[in-house]
Amino acid sequence: MSLLEMRGIEASYGPSQALFGVDLQVGAGEVVALMGRNGMGKSTTIKVLCRLLRNSGGSVQFDGQDLARVPPHKAARAGLGLVPEGRRCFPNLTVHENLIAAARPGHWDVARVTTLFPRLAERRDQGARSLSGGEQQMLAIGRALMTNPRLLVLDEATEGLAPVVRQEIWAALSHLKAETGLALIVVDKSLAELRRMADRAVIIERGRSVWTGDMGALDASVADSYLGL
């Protein structure tokens, strides 16, 4: 059985419906690329998954548990780690404080996170708001890891970063995949990197999941018709 099963998800922001039927499955240790053009419902799907938005239809099962009535903090405690879009750290805390504020016991601790991102060790006592964009992103990933999730969701983790920093983050994510077997959902614009990282892809168009398959099967014609690449 999969770690995550989202079936027939429908969701609305007030009167305007954004999702009309999204299916998304993630197995243990699997890396799934969530793809689609802007405004097609990727971030909304992630919001539903992390319970920041209630779905009006369909079901979300995580590790056999129905998340229908679960508030966001309980979903996080169940093992859902979110790296939100826009590098959202706690700006008024230092790097170290960001990491320990939400720590829960498990494999990941400050030492392991700073081994993954050595820059965070250098900036240990610096305020998060004074970090560069890339460092803030590393901190956001590190903070999510500190909660010891079983599924880590990365929403546009490399957006707006310099190519060098991007490579650093992709390297860290590959390391996560290879060494720890953590399941990932990755939303990103870089098809090349997703091909390298992801096992499967789910493409969302106008609030529906329209294509699901192995990353290898995502050929030029699929990319052309759904992603406009």
Partner: protein, 327 residues
């Protein structure tokens, strides 16, 4: 030690230095003034956990201050009249022992904070302010209309309560006791602010949704903070009553809650030593300006206005040259 550290140390040491100087010069009234400042500082240090770290603008902290005061007043009045507090299946006597009074003050204000917090923390912003104010008014009018313990006239205690090994009627010894408690609470608050709980509370003040996505529940963080905050202010209330040997409904008044907020804002919101600086400044102004004019609060209002407009970091923040607190 950085500049803010030096300022903190001088604010903290100003009180005992003043008290000792007054002792040397044989000015017991000044010692009492320092004691009053330390007690009000303690109350505001309690509020600062909710207001500064948690961002909870409570206009009802006088509830806890008053409960602490009445815990002292009720227990001590029964002890001085030798009438048991409760005489039924078992007998509860009054007491003149400070540690017992403190325990009752802390527990009763913590319980009140738990109930008020459970009801008010579901709301935020102006609704939170109004609910806490409403609770404050409830306690205030109840204390006025309850004749058993003096009603509007309040309750006088003839002799200050006792603490093992000390003569609490000696101003400097009572000051030392109060200052020791203030130091202990400041140490504890410093620990809380740097612990994961305090960090998460501080993060939730800035962005509650972000805190939820890492598995923390803002409501629970705030409730715990509110209870600790209320308990500390309750302890200060018991000490304040003991200092004056008098308890009255004024301790429950919303003006009292307002004063605590003023101490925190004057000194520097969210700064560990901010409320201490604020309370000391207030007592100093009260003492010097009330001799100048009976409308001395006008001057305090003007100073507060200047601080809010031009020195958001309060007294400590502007002296340290940094607006943002280390949190």
């Amino acid at each position: 030690m950085n500049r803010e550290g030096l300022i903190n140390a001088s604010v903290y040491l100003a009180l005992p230095v003043l008290a000792l100087a007054a002792l040397a010069l044989d000015e017991p009234f000044t010692i009492t003034l320092a004691t009053r400042a330390a007690i009000l500082a303690l109350a505001a240090v309690g509020l600062n956990l909710a207001l500064g770290l948690g961002g909870l603008v409570s206009l009802g902290h006088a509830v806890f201050f008053g409960l602490g005061g009445y815990a002292m007043g009720i227990l001590a009045s029964h002890a001085q009249s030798y009438a048991p507090l409760y005489d039924g299946w078992f007998v509860v006597e009054g007491t003149k022992s400070m540690p017992v009074i403190w325990l009752v003050a802390v527990l009763s204000s913590a319980l009140a904070a738990l109930i008020i917090g459970l009801l008010s923390l579901r709301t935020s912003g102006v609704y939170f302010i109004m609910i806490t104010l409403a609770f404050g008014q409830m306690f205030y009018y109840f204390s006025i209309s309850w004749p058993a313990y003096g009603g509007e006239d309040g309750l006088s205690i003839y002799v200050r309560n006792s603490f093992p090994g000390l003569n609490t009627l000696d101003p400097i010894q009572f000051f030392a006791l109060v200052f020791a408690l203030l130091s202990l609470v400041l140490w504890g608050m410093g620990r809380i602010a740097r612990a994961p709980f305090g960090l998460a509370l501080s993060a939730a003040r800035q962005n509650a949704a972000r805190v939820e996505t890492v598995g923390l529940e803002p409501f629970r963080l705030r409730l715990v903070a509110f209870v600790i905050s209320g308990a500390v202010t309750g302890l200060a209330g018991a000490l304040f009553a003991d200092l004056n040997r008098f308890v009255s409904p004024t301790m429950f008044s919303w003006q009292m809650s307002g004063e605590f907020i003023v101490f925190v804002v004057l000194g520097g919101i969210g700064r560990l030593f901010g409320p201490v600086a604020g309370a000391c400044l207030f007592v100093l102004l009260e003492h010097t300006l009330s001799g100048v004019s009976e409308f001395w609060l006008v001057y305090v209002g003007a100073i507060l206005l200047l601080v809010v407009l031009f020195a958001r970091g309060g007294l400590i923040g502007s002296l340290a040259g940094r607006e943002v607190a280390d949190d």
